[in-house]
Structures are given as C-alpha cells and as structure tokens.
Symmetry: C2
Subunit: 625 residues, 2 copies
C-alpha cells in the first residue's frame, strides 16, 4: 500500500522563515494515524520539557489524519497541539469544519512549526507547496476580516484559513484558532501559541485527490451513510436542533450546569433549547465537509446585532454563556458566541471565566471597583457581553480573566479559587460530574483538563439501547447507569476513552460514530481499511487511542504534573443546588479510589505515571523521560 499511504509533513521554522517537506513513513502513519496521536509523536520527539509555552522554543503541531480529504462523512476534524499556555501541560484541541480536508487534498497530513517569526506572518499551503507570507496588515483585524483579506490577496475564494484573531495576537490564554471563522480548535489556548509565534494562521487550498486503497468501498460507505444517518434518532435530532437538542433532557434530569455549576436546572431553560433556537434566531443549519448531518447552527439577531458570518452557538457555548452565567436568552448567548469567534476566544473558557467572575461578584470577592463598574450579577446579559469584549481586548478585569480562572482566582484572593471551575487550569465544559460520572472521571483524568473532547460523553449512555448493543464489541453486556460511580463504570469509561482518543487521532467526530451514532464500530473499521488498505481491527484502533492518551500523559509527567492534578473542583463533592439532583454530591473517597483504580487498570504506577512496561507495550519505548 506504499503508493496509497504517502502523506507529507510540512516543517516550518518561523525564526529562519524556512520550510521543508518530508514524507511520513507508513509504519509511523499506521501507528499514530493522525490528529492527537500523531501530534503526541512529534511533540514528545521534538519538544523539550520545561519550555515557556509562549516562548520561541515551544513547538506547534497541526495534524490532520489518514482520512482527511477523503469523502468519508464526519471525518473532517484535525488537531492543533503544543505545550499549553493555559495548563502548562499537553495542549491539544480538535476542530471540524473545512480546513483538514483541504490540507489533506493539498497532500499533507501535518505541519510541525517551530521558532518565532520576527514579523507577523501567515502560512500559505497549496497542493504540496507552502510559503511564509507577511501578515502585518492583518494585525488587529477580526477573524472574518482576516479571512476575507487572505482570500482576496491570494485570489481564491475557496481557500480555507485556520486563523487567530486579536485575542490570539494579544495572548489571551484561551485564545483559539478558527477555520471558516466558525469552526474552532477551542481548548488549551492554541491561539495564544499561534500569537506568540507571530503566526496569524494557515491558509490552505488543495485540489488533489487523496488516494484511497479501495475507491469503490469508500463510495459505498459514503452512499450508505447518506441513506442511513436518518435512521439514527440522535443524528436526526442533531440535524434538526443542533447539539443544543440535548438541553431539555439535561434540564429534566437536573444536569444542566447553571449558575457556575451551583445548580443543575435554571428557570427559563426552555429559552435555551435547540428547539427554541430553531424557532427564533436560527437562519439555517450548516455542517462540516462531507457530512450530511449539518448539526451546526447559523444565528442572526437584530437587537444584539448578531452577525451570521460567525455561525451560531453550540451546546457548550449555550451552556456556558447561558445557564452557567444564569442567562436564559439565546440572543445575548449568540452575540457572545459571535464575539468569541470574531476575536478568536474559546467560548467555553471565556464563558466559564464570566460565570466565575459573576459568582465572585455575587460573593463580594470582587466589586464594581474591580469590574470598571460592571454589575456582574448572574443573568446580567449586558455585563456578560461587555466582559467578553474586555477579555478579548485584555482590558481591566478582562486582562486578569484572560490569564485563565486559576490565575484570576489567585489574583482575586479571598477564597475565589473555590469558584474556579477547572481541572489542570482548563475551564469546565458544560457537564456536571454529579450527574455524569464518566465525565467527572474524564475531566479529572484528561491530560488537558476539563475538556469535553478528551473523554467519553456518557450523558444518556444508559438511555439508548443502540449504544448498549454497540458496547457488546467491547465485551460489555450489562446496562450501566449514567450516574454510577462503580468499577463497571470505570471499565466503560476506560474503553470509551481509548476509543474517543482514537477518534481524535483520525479526525472522527464523536457525534457520527458508535456507541450511539450512525457509524458503528464495525463501519469505522471498514472505513480505515477502505482508505488505507490496512486490515485493521478493534484492538489496533483502541491501541492508537490508548497510545495518544498515554503520550499526552507522559508529556504532562515530564512537565511536573502528578496525581494531585487528577482532581475535580471541590464543588462537585458538595451537594448540588437546585434541581432533581439537589443535594447530590460525588463521594470523594469512592471517586479517588476509582482514579487510583484507573491507574492500575491502565498499567500506570500509583502516582499515575505510565510504567516503562506499559509504555513498551504500546510500542512507545522510544520515549525518554
């Protein structure tokens, strides 16, 4: 299959403004496949521990996958990875959209970017070639403006730009990278790393066909998906109402994080439902490359002047700027989303930073004197929007919050850290571990902290027979309740975590594949085989995922992380406020016992460090640490 599996790696040294291109050997391609795992491979090989994440020595990896640019639906995602300025550990963030397929069609699977440019630049990649171009004229421009200017100056409207905005330039610790101005590599501050390197973005145009081993089979799978996704109830809901389709269920079960995770419900939650969006601010739905589900929203509003150019809010953003901030009006939520995309801010971290500030304000830890007069009460939409602007532009208290809520809590003092909802310094995605125990384990154990993409979403797992059936291929035959915190839950968690880490490595969207969505595990294997010609199996892909996770873990170990970082905020060990789960707290002893058990079943030592034996078992014995 050597002629099929030829993928190129772009190597860029920004300090010397030099570029070279190498071909990835097929055994490396197969062992890491792309995305998260491939990024881990490059970072552990080429990045020294202990460097300043915003310094010249940090290494930035942009990794598509073996599937990028093929017509397989749901496989448009890619990874940006680096040492994180937000967590000081492994930084990794995935995004869907249109960039990775274009990069794949340009002949590349990854870019490894080092050094720091002496002037603002962007990369221009087209069909096997790349150049570094001046970006001085883009400084201070919004994401949308930047995109327009680049497309215009390169003379091709079909160029896809993965790009930071002013917040990335100004090194907000959770600045993000966006493609088509609306698909965000949101987490772990990869936009700040771009900014620190004077790299505005990567513009890509690919017109080559990505070679696949079995064209006919790939065509057949694409056709099968087009015919069958409508038989998957969840994918139909995603199509109709977007990711916010889940809010009614979360609210009903008391697991809609509200008021900075104090409560599990909020009065007026119905105003945030995906169904409500469809009836109000929705212009249309959109999607990612090759995916017919089109779960993304495009929103518009006159009162708040919401610009549909930047798409519309997804569940995490609605949970963040909505219920977490005590706001139950989709219009300011959509506006906050637009602002984040326009300036290049992660909506999750930004919204949780606002929620944190609101709780600090309500508790008297900060006052109007600290907020430039903003009355940061829960539910104050105007104040929320103003604070987002201040974070984006690093003004006043916005500067402090832009350092991440851990740094902000330290600055605020007075016990503010109690209200900082984070793991490893990364702000919480909108899932309450008291209601979704798998998410709790996932957030505590994820190398990137409270990151919704690095762990299994067990929300609703117990509810869907289809999901349980599909878990049979793991040897799991018994239903496991979403609120269990048991050894059986741990097993489900471990297997799904490996699988999702595989998804993050091949660029699959967790919302198109098993356990609950259209592509069964079997179909996923067929896809990998059809594209690459490899006779793969469930064991191999699970090991790709485990490898990705263990590499990120080792990265963190090298940076000084320990078991004390595999934690949850104290709030989750305290009784939940309002809602059906009122009074429920996670049993701390049981929780940390499961964390230790996870180390054990993973072949890690009692400090959570992967053992040499385990590292060798995963074929990672080249790693020195």
């Amino acid at each position: 299959m050597a002629e099929i599996n030829q993928r190129k790696v772009l190597r860029v040294d920004l300090s010397s403004e030099s570029i070279s291109i190498e071909t990835l050997p097929e055994d490396i391609l197969r062992k890491y496949m792309g995305g998260s795992a491939l990024a881990g491979y490059f970072l552990l090989n080429e990045l020294k521990p202990g460097v300043d994440p915003l310094g010249e020595e940090n290494v930035l990896v942009v990794a598509a996958s073996i599937l990028s640019g093929t017509p397989i639906p749901g496989a448009s995602r890619f990874t940006i990875a680096s040492k994180s300025p937000l967590t000081n550990g492994f930084g990794e963030s995935e995004a869907g959209g249109w960039w990775a397929p274009e990069f794949g069609k340009a002949g590349f699977i990854a870019a490894v970017i080092k050094g720091r440019a002496s002037r603002p630049v962007y990369l221009w990649v087209k069909d096997g070639k790349a150049e570094i171009r001046d970006a001085s004229h883009l400084v201070g421009k919004t994401v949308g403006e930047g995109e327009q200017i680049i497309r215009k100056e390169l003379g091709d409207e079909r160029i896809v730009v993965a790009q930071i905005g002013p917040s990335g330039e100004k090194l907000v610790k959770y600045a993000c990278v966006l493609n088509n101005s609306k698909h965000a590599n949101g987490r772990t501050g990869m936009g700040a790393v771009f900014g620190s390197k004077n790299l505005r973005g990567i513009a890509v145009r690919g017109t080559q066909e990505v070679p696949v081993a079995d064209k006919e089979k790939v065509r057949e799978i694409v056709k099968w998906f087009a015919q069958n996704w409508k038989n998957n109830a969840l994918n139909v809901r995603l199509n109709k109402w977007g990711t916010a389709h889940s809010i009614p269920g979360l609210h009903e079960t008391g697991t809609l994080p509200s008021y900075n995770f104090r409560d599990g419900v909020i009065d007026g939650a119905e105003n945030l439902y995906g169904m409500t969006m469809s009836d109000t601010i929705l212009v249309k739905n959109e999607g990612c490359y090759a995916c017919p589900i089109r779960c993304k929203r495009v929103a518009k509003d006159e009162k708040y002047q919401v610009d549909p150019y930047y798409g519309g809010p997804e569940y995490e953003t609605i949970g963040g700027f909505g219920s977490i901030c005590g706001i139950t009006d989709l219009r300011p939520v959509a506006k906050a989303h637009e602002l984040c995309n326009k300036y290049g801010l992660d909506t999750i971290s930004a919204s949780v930073a606002v929620g944190f500030a609101m709780e600090c304000y309500e508790k008297g830890i900060i006052t109007e004197g600290d907020t430039d007069g903003l009355k940061l009460e829960f539910g104050n939409a105007e104040a929320m929007l103003k604070l987002v602007e201040m974070i984006a532009h690093r003004q006043g208290i916005g500067y402090i919050l832009g350092e991440g809520i851990v740094a902000a809590a330290k600055k605020f003092g007075k016990g503010a850290e109690k209200y900082a909802m984070h793991v490893k310094g990364q702000e919480f995605a909108a899932h309450d571990p008291r209601g979704k125990t798998g998410v709790g384990l996932g957030f505590a154990l994820s190398p990137t902290g409270a990151d919704h993409l690095e762990m299994p979403h067990d929300g609703g797992f117990a509810d869907y027979t289809v999901a349980l059936d599909s878990m049979n291929v793991f040897g799991i035959y018994e239903p496991i309740d979403v609120r269990d915190l048991t050894a059986r839950k741990l097993r489900l968690f471990q297997y799904l975590q490996m699988y999702y880490c595989f998804n993050n490595s091949v660029g699959f969207c967790n919302l198109v594949t098993a356990p609950a969505f259209t592509f069964s595990f079997g179909k996923v294997l067929e896809i990998v085989s059809a594209v690459t010609g490899w006779h793969t199996g469930m064991w191999e892909i699970m090991k790709v995922g485990e490898r990705a996770n263990v590499m990120a873990r080792i990265f963190n170990t090298r940076e000084g992380f320990g078991p004390e970082d595999d934690t949850l905020p104290e709030r989750f060990f305290e009784p939940m406020g309002k809602g059906p789960l009122s009074g429920k707290a996670i049993d701390k002893e049981e929780f940390y016992k499961l964390i230790k058990d996870f180390y054990t079943i993973s072949g890690w030592d009692d400090k959570g460090v992967p053992t040499k034996a385990k590292i060798a078992e995963l074929g990672l014995d080249w790693i020195e640490f």
Copy 2:
C-alpha cells in the same frame, strides 16, 4: 439471536447419580464463549478453594463452545478443567478430535460434574438427554477396549467416547482423557480426576444440527477454507508431515530439546523428522472433525508391534520420548505413544518423567536398585518402554514417577530437583526457553505450568512474513526476533497469550488460525459472527481470552500460588549444552524483570495477583477471593 444461542449445560451429581439440564443465558455464553473461559466461570463459581483434587469435592467441567458441532474447520477442540492433582492449581486441558462436535450436536455446551460415584460409571449423552451407566465391566480395560465395549453395548458405532484408561483409574497424576482413543486432553491430570470420581468416560452421540445465525456465511467460510488452506505453507507442511514437520528447523537452530533439555541438538535427529515418519512407520494421516488439514499421524511397526488403532506420535511426543530421552528411532517413540494412549497417560508428562529418571540415573541419583534393574541410560529405548508400562500400571519406580516429577524428585533426593523440568509441577512440553523466549514467559506465567497449549508458540514467528503482517491488527509493525527477551517481546507475548486463551475458549486449534495459519484474525471474527449473529470484534475476543487467563490466575491465587511459582527451572538460566545455541543462558534478572513487567501491564499487583480494579474491568467482579 435468542433462538440461535441456546446451549444446554449438563449437570451431573455422581454421588447421588442424578442429572439435570439447564440452559445457559446468552449473556454468559457471549462473555465466556466456551472452553477455558466457560470452565473458569463454573469452577470459580462452584468449587471451593483448598479441596483435595482427587476428593469428592472437586468439580469437573467439560466445556465445548459456541462453535462445537458447526462445520467450521479447526474448531473441534474442547476443554476439561478441574483442580489439578498434578499442580494443585487450575487444571485445564484441551483436545481436538471428534468429541466436542458430537457433544454440540447433542445440544450441549458443557457438563459440570460433581461428587463421586460409588461404583464405576460412565455417562451416556444423546440428543439432549443423558444417563449414568455402570462401568464395572470396563475396569482395567484399555482405552481401545473400553471404547469398543461402549459402542457395542449402546449399539452405535458412531458414538464418540472421551475416556480414561487404567492409568486414570489408578490415579496417575498425569493420566489423560482420550476421545477416539487418540485425541488427548493430555495435561494437568484430568484423567486422574475422572478416575477419582469413578467416572470412566463420557460417551456422546448427537444427531441434531447446531443452529447458526447465518448458514450461508458459514457454508461460504467452510468452502473458502477448503480452497485456501493449501495456500498456507505451514498448513501444507502440517498436512504432509504432521506437527513433526518442525523438527528439522528446531534441530538446525539448536532448539530441539535433547537429553532432558541439556542440549539443543541430538545426533541422528533426522531419524525423528516428520518427513522420516512419512517414509517409514506412517500408515496414513488423519484429522479432526471438519478439518481438511489432517495433521494427525497413524503409525504402525512390526518390530515394536505398534498398534495403529491409537494413531501416532505428534511433535510433543516425539520430542519427549525421542530427543528428550536421547532416543532417535521413531519406532520405540511410536510404541511409547501407543502405550500412553492405550493406558491413558499424558505423553508429555510421561516422557519428561522418563527423561528425568534417565538423567537421575546417569548422575547416580538413582541406580538399578531403584529401577528394578532397568538401565535407564539416555537412548535406551527398551528401558524407556518398560518404564512407561511401569508408570501406567504404577509399578516400582513407575509409581513414584506417576506422582509427577516434583514429587519424584523429592523422593529421590540428592539434588534430583535440579533435573526436574517442570513449572508449577507440570512437566515441560518440548520447547526450550533459551531458544524460544516467548515460550519461556508462557511456561512461567501459565496458570497450568509448562503447558504448550496455554501460551503463544513463538517458534518461527520472526521467520514468517505472513505472521508479522497479521500482527498489524494488534498494532505491532516491527519484526521481533524469536530469541528477544525485551519489552517488545513481552507485548507480543501478552497479545498472543490473550488470543490463544480465546482460542482455548472457542475450541480453535492454534494451528489453523492467525498469526501464521490459514484463518486470519478477520476470518475468525467472521466465524464467531456468522455462527452466533453477534457483531463481535477483536477487542471482545481478546477480552474473552484475557478473562480466561485471569480467572485461572485467580483460581491459583485462591489455592495459595504466588510469584515464586512464576518461574523456570534453573537449567534454563545455565548455559545450553550442545548445538548452535551452546553456551546460551537466559539472563535471569532480565527474565524476572519481564515477569514483573507482565504483572504491571496486565493490571496485576506486584505479587502477580489480578487487582480488584482489573477484575472489574474484565466484568469478573462477581468473583470473591
């Protein structure tokens, strides 16, 4: 699939001579599948620790599998399991042949046999029914005589009897169970357990069709195998020359155990080759149910009066009674094989017991005074044959050797234990760990000791590109030398061990499936799915295997086994004698480090006990220990 996966379990209480029949729930069927794993399930549930293996309280499990009785080639094997009188730990032995398919066609997957009959009996199972019948008239009869009498009295020549002979009746610790008088559940003394229960055997006749989920697919697979096995070089060699096809390669590489594992070569080895057998004593080749490879031999010789009724020697037997005893003449080897089958002795343990006695004799530890005048020199074929008779009938020194070589060494004293080639009390199969390091790990770590069926045969792994290619599905892409003793080897070993434990659970012969033989891993999955309708995958079947191994391990832990039992005889840490590997010794420190590493990557504690977390991960949290 409920209508398909209905398998019955026969429950027999010999003490009360009562029988009942129950249906196995499908989730249990899927989780354990049969054989080794299913036997572990019953034994851990129903057998108390600490019982006398030859007492009434021991429980005997005979377990076929989901595949038994289907026309799938190479899946005719089944497991007999119990607490072993040879090792005092988990006793388990697989055999091919014709018994399991017949049992499957009679509607059964397993028999759980308890108590002890007050008179000699045998079980008669036909088409969903069973009865206990008197066997007084069979006492003292040879295996062949017993078979003939049973068939005659039940009036059906097609009855298949799994049966012990006089050695089992007399409780030789490595007495075996044979079906069709030539397919042996040889290891761990299951024949003695039969004997202790006054159970001569189990006669079976099944005329029902075993239901399968996808008949057409099963037919297609059978046809595919018939057309394709001839393209697999190893399967062709097995067909032409039997398992002894490997002797030339072993001799050339210095890994043919000779003179009780002192040397790796023997002068005149060519007289033992499978090719030599074809040219000399071979009458014809035979095989197991539904398998076209027909690797079994039928031998005849006039000088030694070798009776072809009992088949002919396989590799392990030739290594045992041949090179290990310093004998290079196939005729006495075939005679020893015939005697073992006729009386119901395990050829491996019996031959290694003879080799052990020979070395003790040559070292002066025992003398003609101890041997009833036998000159037990290496190479003395007449003495060897006489000693086999003495072991079978428990005469003189044969009585002592029939207790197993560990007990015999204790009895002999004078440092005899140095020459007792065993692990956990079970005599070595004919593989030298100095040449095959995976076998060394396997023997040390196997719950049943030095058992050639409980661990991956890595002999030649590095030589066959086909095997390496097939290991890709495990995420192993680099060649690993057969003599490596490295972390990479450990990983290969661990994965293959899980897989072979799965094979032992579904009754697959290791000589028809991947990594090196006709059925690829992918085909194996297709087979399980076609027969059961389950959408299985590599992860699930590997976990079935791991489950089987961990259950056996826990069984041993309950019986007081510890890390001190995961060892090899000292000889293998000392320089090899003659041959290409002369002077080679296993590095003891490195070996035991790998054993510890195996514990770690398996989720076992540093004493080699599976942790509670690991047990739960495998869905075995019902086990109390």
